[in-house]
């Protein structure tokens, strides 16, 4: 429809290499009559792994979707590296949305692989059509990414021939193919059988080790404790408390967090 959300021509070659921190300033969002986010402030530094936890409806997914330009917001701003996105810019598919989105990959709870394309086809789609890269180069890089998530042998499989865990790993490879500076993961193991969650979480640990910034909405408290550098509890549209996982998970200070953890951990 519009070329506005195509990344700027300088997006790759001239890509900023400086401080790629994510800054959320006073972000607020109403949805219908409800205040989903009310003045959220958040900074994620490069290489950091941040787990967003909290009760359902607390605004965790909305925060991620705002960061990726899938939801607009009503107040505040988002900055990723040198690119800033204001509330006004978030409402339409503007160049600002595209620039921010370009630096952030997004993984969905329900995978959303393209069913008419093979695993490799899913991975090379955006590099070829958005970045205009050649097929040979895209496939070479795509195969490397599939190898990295342990699916080199499934490159020609269609999504309906893959298990849930495999699908989610293809989705991660697909997001990585656009070379994002951070991955936004929206409850990416929630739709998986318990025995399949591990293979996806292992991939995340591997990416963290490589220094990729991760912002995870998760209900896997165990994983958060093990892998996160910082845990943020989001409830009723605001940050309740944040800190190192052992502090938040093992010694929560607020009643809200205690109540939430007692229900999740049983």
């Amino acid at each position: 429809m519009t070329d506005a959300i195509q990344p700027s021509p300088t997006s790759y070659a001239g890509r900023p290499t400086g401080d790629m921190r994510i800054e959320v300033t006073d972000l607020s969002k109403r949805y219908g009559g409800r205040q989903v986010l009310s003045g959220v402030n958040l900074t994620v530094v490069p290489g950091e792994t941040v787990a967003l936890i909290g009760p359902s409806g607390g605004g965790k997914s909305t925060l991620l979707r705002c960061l990726n330009g899938l939801n607009s917001f009503d107040g505040g701003s988002i900055r990723v590296g040198p690119h800033r996105l204001t509330a006004a810019e978030s409402r339409r598919p503007t160049a600002a949305v595209a620039r921010v989105r370009r630096l952030l990959g997004m993984i969905f709870q329900d995978f959303q692989l393209f069913p008419h394309q093979t695993a490799l086809g899913n991975v090379i789609e955006a590099p070829m059509t958005v970045l205009g890269r050649g097929r040979a180069e895209s496939e070479k890089r795509g195969m490397a990414l599939l190898t990295r998530v342990g699916l080199a042998g499934h490159a020609d499989a269609y999504p309906n021939q893959l298990s849930g865990g495999q699908k989610q790993r293809v989705a991660i490879a697909r997001a990585l193919a656009m070379e994002p500076r951070a991955l936004l993961c929206d409850e990416i193991t929630s739709a998986l059988d318990p025995e399949l969650k591990g293979e996806v979480l292992d991939v995340l640990v591997d990416l963290k080790r490589d220094g990729l910034t991760l912002l995870l909405v998760t209900h896997e408290i165990g994983f958060a404790r093990k892998a996160a550098d910082r845990v943020i509890v989001l409830a009723d549209g605001g940050i309740v408390e944040e800190g190192p996982p052992e502090e938040i998970i093992d010694r929560p200070r607020t009643e809200r967090t205690k109540h939430f953890l007692s229900r999740v951990l049983g």
Binding site: I5, N68, P93, R101, Q112, H116, A126, A175, M178
Partner: protein, 520 residues
């Protein structure tokens, strides 16, 4: 039959000689276009059972005689009988001569020549019918009666209070007699020449009562073509005065003493005002006796008693199949080309554009194709002289675009919103997402209903015969009228439709498998 063959041979020879004469002497005279409906049936104008490419009948012979008198070649043009008057006014041909009755309603619209035939209406019944002999008795008994739609007989029956459901109006002549023979109706009321031709073929049927209301057949012209009409009046006058119509009518078994009336001075000039009083009110000039069967049981009837092999019509029907395929493919191409933008307008357009798309779908889905074709051809296309085939393609395309738009809208809407979001998160624009991600998935959903639509359109092409496009079904009617082998021709036509539509189903399933990889 042998007599007929030799007779036909001589006719052919004469026709060749005559054609040579015309070719030499009158090459510069522009041909006149004469319209008639050969699927209407014998003995007026019908397809030659021995040669599907030509027409025969007493009006064809009359046409030949008129050519000689006028010194101008006349070319035949097929036209749907019910639309002869609007077609004449539209300028699709120069004159209509096809058993058109001189009726006051027609006289308002067109100019009639002096009459070339005096017809009477009569009842035909199953042999042994004792219950009635007249229309009045038939009406009192509340028995069903058949006639041709748009005929003077139909008007007269309705004028006397015989209405549907007792009144059965047919588009073709054979249907009436078959239904009478089978007991679906109890009488056929129609012009005597029709009875004379068809009754010998149905041994269980006979005429009853007396020939009734009398009327005239005349040649119809546009009101503005008075000079041409006068030329025809002169030519007809010379044929009548020279007693040259008699051999033609006798050859087809439709001569009777009523025709002597054609020479009457009051019919000489023109028929304008001839039938100022409603049909049938004036007393008959003479009360002709019931025409004895033997007098009419002549050669034209005899030749059809021997079955004409069905395969003789194959080439003719194949030509119709070609027209049907061309109509379907072009019509569907237009429907798809229009349907997708309309679906997109409805899905993603701003409010006024969306309403426009909704209005299009509701209007064109709600109007019968038949009506749409009439409107396009006789109202909208008339001033521009858009030809019938183009009109047919446009009409079918406009109609089916509404159906396609709805299918596409539903299919595009059925692709989960998450697919749009996943593509957006990868930096794909809306247009790119639609083309690369949404459309390929929607196509798989679209394909089966679209194939059904194509097969439906394929069969719906039969309606375009109303604007005189001779596609397969129309050719079936014509060939069946000509051969009277409804079953044989019907089976062959059905086989042609199947040969064309069944592979479509296979193609669709193959495409579904091909495109459906990973989705099912």
């Amino acid at each position: 039959m042998r007599r007929w063959r030799s007779c036909r041979g001589m006719m052919f020879f004469a026709a060749v000689l005559w054609a040579a004469a015309v070719g030499n002497g009158r090459a510069d005279a522009p041909p006149l276009l004469w319209a008639a409906d050969e699927s209407g049936g014998a003995p007026y104008v019908f397809q030659d059972p021995d040669n599907a490419d030509r027409v025969v009948g007493f009006e064809v012979d009359l046409k030949d005689a008129l050519e000689g008198e006028l010194g101008r070649p006349i070319r035949f043009k097929h036209y749907d009988f019910k639309n002869l008057i609007p077609g004449l006014q539209r300028g699709d041909f120069d004159f209509a001569m096809n058993g058109l009755e001189v009726l006051p309603e027609y006289q308002k619209e067109v100019l009639f020549s002096r009459p070339y035939y005096v017809y009477e209406l009569q009842l035909a019944v199953r042999k042994g019918e004792r219950r009635f002999k007249t229309i009045e008795e038939l009406k009192d008994l509340r028995l069903p009666v058949a006639t041709l739609s748009g005929s003077a007989a139909e008007r007269l029956l309705m004028g006397r209070g015989v209405n549907p459901p007792l009144l059965h109006s047919y588009d073709d002549q054979t249907g009436m007699y078959i239904d009478l023979a089978n007991g679906n109706v109890d009488a056929v009321y129609i012009d005597l020449p029709v009875h004379i031709y068809y009754l010998p073929k149905y041994p269980g049927l006979e005429l009853t009562g007396q020939p009734g209301e009398k009327g005239y057949y005349a040649v119809a012209f546009r009101k503005a073509d008075g000079a041409l009409c006068e030329q025809f009046n002169g030519a007809l006058g010379r044929l009548i005065d020279g007693d040259k119509l008699r051999p033609i009518y006798q050859k087809w078994g439709v001569w009777n003493d009523d025709q002597m009336e054609l020479a009457a001075p009051e019919l000489g000039a023109s028929t304008v005002g001839l039938l100022a009083s409603p049909l049938g009110q004036g007393p008959l000039l003479a009360a002709p006796a019931l025409l004895p069967r033997t007098e009419h049981d002549l050669t034209p009837a005899a030749h059809t008693e021997s079955a004409v092999p069905v395969w003789k019509y194959l080439g003719y029907l194949l030509g119709g199949a070609g027209v049907t395929v061309a109509l379907s493919v072009l019509g569907m191409a237009l429907a798809v080309a229009l349907g997708m933008p309309i679906a997109l307008m409805r899905l993603y357009g701003p409010a006024p554009i969306r309403w426009l798309a909704i209005a299009y779908v509701e209007v064109f889905r709600g109007i019968p194709v038949l009506l749409l074709l009439f409107f396009l051809y006789f109202v909208f296309g008339s001033p521009y002289h858009i030809d019938a085939f183009t009109t047919a393609v446009v009409g079918l395309g406009l109609n089916y675009a509404a159906y396609e738009a709805e299918i596409y809208r539903a299919a595009i809407g059925a692709v989960p919103a998450g697919q749009w979001e996943a593509a957006a998160s990868l930096g794909m624009s809306r247009a790119l997402t639609f083309r690369r991600i949404i459309l390929p998935q929607a196509l798989r959903i679209i394909l089966p209903p679209m194939t059904s639509d194509f097969v439906a359109l394929f069969k719906d092409t039969s309606v375009v015969s109303v604007i005189a496009v001779a596609e397969l079904t129309k050719r079936y009617q014509t060939a069946a009228q000509s051969s009277l082998d409804y079953v044989g021709i019907g089976l062959m036509t059905a086989a042609l439709y199947l040969v064309m539509s069944v592979p479509l189903g296979f193609l669709s399933r193959w495409l579904e498998q091909r495109w459906g990889k990973g989705v099912m």
